[in-house]
């Protein structure tokens, strides 16, 4: 082997990338050529320096936590049909989903049967199915740490948060002066799609307002369900389909819905 050939293969030799016959040819040349052997020694010394002195940065725990949180959110909002999630939490998941399964157990059978026949039933049955999902989402949101993805009293923080997370810009009227301060927003899942939830409070009562793009004609506010002390009011207009759910008393929830619908249709500061 000539020196030029050896130099051409020296890096591959160092990196263990040569075929056995080439490797042997280089080895024999290095044994007899001082110049190439010196060159190889330099490469070995460099490689040793790099391996021992090059720092190996590792991903900070905060980054890992952020990524895991995003994966969980992606999984719970977009990946799984809600019934599957409720009925069959995947093995090895955090306990709260199986908890959800217990909480919603009474609703699952009705919801499942509605889902199977969803295309066949008329709108009232569909609405009942959505009511089940909205109610179980509301109950789940009351678990610690589940209420908001973005916690802010400022609609200018909450409204933009949904940009890029959902192809719909939810209404976020300002209702503080009427006694309904804004708590924040989150993504949730209902009616077979990710939906926006805007969260308000009245005294100690949480009000979740679910919304998504309008699919039906306008519907004036209707009490769809009163269950375990929770009231569900549904309405829709040109800007979207809305569900408000709370354990607030019904008169106050009606008042909230009237304020919300009016502020939203009047185009209160967005």
């Amino acid at each position: 082997m000539q020196c030029a050939d050896c130099r051409g293969l020296l890096h591959a030799y160092l990196d263990g990338e040569l075929m056995p016959d080439e490797r042997e040819a280089v080895r024999q040349h290095l044994a007899t050529c001082a110049s190439c052997a010196a060159e190889y020694e330099t490469l070995v010394a460099l490689s040793r320096q790099l391996k021992t002195k090059l720092e190996r940065p590792t991903a900070p725990d905060t980054l890992k936590a952020r990524i895991r949180a995003d994966l969980e959110r992606a999984e719970s909002t977009a990946a799984h049909p809600p019934f599957q999630t409720m009925a069959e939490p995947p093995a090895g998941r955090t306990p709260r989903r199986s908890w959800l399964g217990l909480v919603a157990a009474g609703l699952v059978i009705a919801a499942l049967s509605s889902a199977v026949t969803a295309t066949l039933v008329h709108r009232n049955a569909l609405r009942a199915s959505i009511a089940d999902q909205v109610l179980s989402s509301h109950i789940r949101s009351l678990l610690p740490g589940r209420l908001t993805d973005v916690a802010s009293n400022d609609l200018h923080n909450v409204k933009p948060w949904f940009n890029g997370r959902i192809d719909f810009s939810p209404s976020v009227p300002r209702l503080d002066s009427a006694g309904f301060p804004l708590l924040g927003g989150r993504l949730d899942y209902a009616g077979g799609q990710p939906v926006a939830v805007v969260v308000y409070r009245h005294q100690q009562h949480v009000i979740n307002v679910f919304s998504w793009p309008a699919e039906t004609r306008s519907v004036s506010p209707t009490v769809v369900r009163t269950d375990h002390g929770y009231h569900l009011i549904h309405w829709s207009d040109a800007t979207g389909d809305f569900w408000a759910v709370s354990d607030l008393n019904l008169a106050q929830l009606h008042q909230f819905v009237a304020l919300f619908a009016r502020a939203e249709s009047e185009g209160e500061p967005r």
């Binding site: 320096q49 190996r56 995003d70 799984h80």
Partner: protein, 174 residues
């Protein structure tokens, strides 16, 4: 639409977060940028996970991280452009080291780090992938999108520059 297989994603991809971060850290030379880019890259990887079949999940993730790093650099016109095509000589390196107040009592470790940082990015990435992460030419070729022969010639040129910068004996014809 089939949901992305999160369990499989977490099992195959998440164990390589440290490697992903190390690559971004060296390519971007900034720990905060590296965190943002790795975060973004993992979410992209999840989105495109259907396109991942079998094979080396680490190389697959690192190729996404690398692309995100260059997109990020392009967007921010990150420092280093001036060095991308120019030759870095020992004199350049010494000037820079001397000018840097952190380096007044620079240890060998700092000197190695400086020498790596001074490399053009296409040399820096092959050094990090080979010397730090110990990937094969074939894997590096997959990640960087250049033929294995180019990987080898870049490694050779990068090593020569590093040897000069670190004061190791280098032959003229090498």
């Amino acid at each position: 639409m089939a949901p992305p297989d999160h369990e499989r994603f977490e099992r195959l991809v998440l164990p390589h977060l440290d490697d992903a971060y190390a690559l971004a850290h060296y390519l971007l030379r900034d720990e905060h940028d590296a965190q943002d880019v790795v975060h973004d890259a993992v979410l992209r990887a999840l989105r495109y996970f259907e396109s991942y079949r079998d094979g080396d999940a680490r190389a697959w993730l690192l190729s996404i991280v690398r692309n995100c790093c260059y997109t990020w650099r392009g967007r921010r016109e990150v420092v280093g452009q001036g060095h991308t095509h120019g030759d870095v000589t020992l004199a350049d390196l010494s000037d820079t080291v001397a000018a840097d107040h952190h380096a007044i009592q620079s240890s060998d470790r700092d000197l190695v780090r400086r020498a790596i940082d001074m490399l053009p990015h296409e040399f820096r990435e092959v050094i990090v992938l080979r010397e730090l992460q110990e990937l094969s030419y074939k894997e590096i070729s997959t990640i960087t999108g250049v033929p294995a022969g180019t990987v080898m010639s870049r490694l050779a040129r990068a090593r020569k520059r590093l040897a000069v910068a670190l004061g190791l004996p280098v032959s003229e014809e090498g």
